[in-house]
Symmetry: C2
Amino acid sequence: MGLTKTEKFTDLQNQIADFAKVFGHPARVAILEHLFQLNSCVCGDLVKEIGLAQPTISQHLKELKKLNLIKGNISGTSVCYCINSEKWTSMKTVMEQFLNQDLKNLNCC
Amino acid sequence: MGLTKTEKFTDLQNQIADFAKVFGHPARVAILEHLFQLNSCVCGDLVKEIGLAQPTISQHLKELKKLNLIKGNISGTSVCYCINSEKWTSMKTVMEQFLNQDLKNLNCC
DNA sequence: TTACTATATTGCAATATTACGATTAATAAA
DNA sequence: TTTATTAATCGTAATATTGCAATATAGTAA
């Protein structure tokens, strides 16, 4: 049916999946890496940088904004984007807890 | 067009996106958590545990196997699944490098 | 052999995602 | 005001994902 049955899972499981989903496209990974590399707001040049059409980039930015991972400040005709540090940190806590599950006691057949 | 333009991105960006994508569904998160919690192979009871139909679970397992994050050992009529520790560890390295980007120097407008 | 059990595969319907041209909205500059 | 610039939104086509019923496959047990 193409519709995820979120009600079958815990809030945390859905939250992990939501964060992971937004990282599940290389354009969004590239956008985030670019924002980190510049250490400041990025005003405008994302379209040139990433190499996809302007509406496509805008759509990817929208998904990152939806999860609050980035902030956009209007500055004249352009919009300046940057990482939302607080949200990034709390997201990282959730994701790392998932990634850091204990491997030591695993005994498989 | 519904087709990700992977050629526009680096191998690492695509790799991060591929790992993230597989974690981007709560059923797969739940399956992995279950495998970790039991600390051993899981033979059979995943369908009951997760609460989706058998073909649906089988499909999710297939995607986890495709990325080598789990191993499946045939044992009679059932198949025993467990985390692939080596792959999990290398995946974690990639993902944590992405998550742990430096937030200190970020100065936004 | 036949019957049973467990998992995989197939086929399909419903929904989601990706990408972009065209348009719109909002501000800046002339 | 007019024109240019920038980003968001709309509309749409192509493809991907999710979920499951039906079926196939493979092993076990009688």
